[in-house]
Symmetry: C2
Subunit: 241 residues, 2 copies
Amino acid sequence: MVQTAAFLRSLERRDSLSDDEIMIIRELPGRPAAFAAGEEIVVEGSRPKESCLVTAGFAARSQSLRSGERQITAVHVPGDFVDLHSMMLKVMDHSVVALGPCKVAFVPHEKIREVTVRNPHLARLFWLSTTIDGAIQRTWITCLGRRSAEQHLAHLVCELYIRLEAAGIASDFAFEFPVTQMQLGDVLGLSVVHVNRKLQELRAGGLLEWRDGKVKIRDFERLAKMSEFDPTYLSLRRESR
Amino acid sequence: MVQTAAFLRSLERRDSLSDDEIMIIRELPGRPAAFAAGEEIVVEGSRPKESCLVTAGFAARSQSLRSGERQITAVHVPGDFVDLHSMMLKVMDHSVVALGPCKVAFVPHEKIREVTVRNPHLARLFWLSTTIDGAIQRTWITCLGRRSAEQHLAHLVCELYIRLEAAGIASDFAFEFPVTQMQLGDVLGLSVVHVNRKLQELRAGGLLEWRDGKVKIRDFERLAKMSEFDPTYLSLRRESR
DNA sequence: CGGTCTATTGACTGGCGTCAAGCACCGTGG
DNA sequence: CCACGGTGCTTGACGCCAGTCAATAGACCG
């Protein structure tokens, strides 16, 4: 039995669950664990036997290069079943790390598989979860390839706010995101110095505040417009899937 | 009944199928269609009722910006079930376009769903297919964020060769990839001019040849090394999934 | 109180974009 | 047959966005 409230909430944002299905999810066995900022939750190259669900804080997928540089390829918020991927992929092509202090629950692959066999609808919803990850990644590709650093940063802030708001842990255009500017650089594919400058420009433009890991969006409209943010890719409509 | 040979081959590269499962796939109904280079196969914002499988040629996912710029977020080769995503996501967050001349088969979502309900193992393999897409996208994110243009280009060539080789339509380090340098720029997030220059550098370095849509890798080892290409993310090992 | 981590700032560099022009190739129509 | 416009490849000149290097300052910590 684990903290599945946030995960359930994220599923129910996208489809309706029967009482039976809710029970199945609630009864998933999970080994809870807590990680400090920067710690590795799942290691690149390993073959996990369980998948992890973020219950509090932020986790990220990270790939590293020989040079020591890192790229963060995904950010995960409470309710995200981060590592369903590993169940199908077997070998991790990336690490999962804690961004800030982060709590997760490890659920055995075997149990997840049982659920998917028993309940095809839940199987589809697990599938959906990884598919949304994919949609987010595509958007990130477009941000990296075709948007300016400033747009990219603005886009990230919009995305995080909407996702956190959907997860029920952000409102009033404010949220906590306890990352260093260096980590932010790893997310955006930028150097720390440049992240710092672009943050300042957004602040100076009256678009947002960002201090001590707390983000306050001052003008969501403008932020979304300048970054061409369109939340369609987050699939936040409730429909039969 | 459609051209599912390449798709079956790609599944069998990753897991074993029973005779029964092979029949189920073979008997999937599919509406064949052919597209010329540049044509849209699935349109951004639409709600498809069928998913498409590439049977010949190349397709790509493409997102466009207000400025008219485009970013290609994925390239798909014969045997790729491109658009399984749309079954879960409902609304397309991107278009699917033909890169060169391209043949596809459209399979009704309903039929795919039937298969997944009837056969959980095939359900997992469909899921696997979208998960591999996700792994490729993560790698692209890292290429865009942390590799130089030259490394990125080299990495793409390595990836395409390995994927095509796995699909059984490339060998001897040569393959066809009928795209313009402009399309290549949309894949790499670069300008045409820069693509051209980097291609020339790779040619001058004796790493590859690329003319008339035909790529010949002269030194795969060196290409893979300079771009830190590691095929793990393609999940090309046959194991029980 | 020094050591480490993070944010910030300035000076300089370089990778990649932009603009523009020239070529080669193609299919079309006079 | 050739003129043509369109498309794609190539090259040069130039400019800007973002990286690198380096230094400072504050916060936290042992």
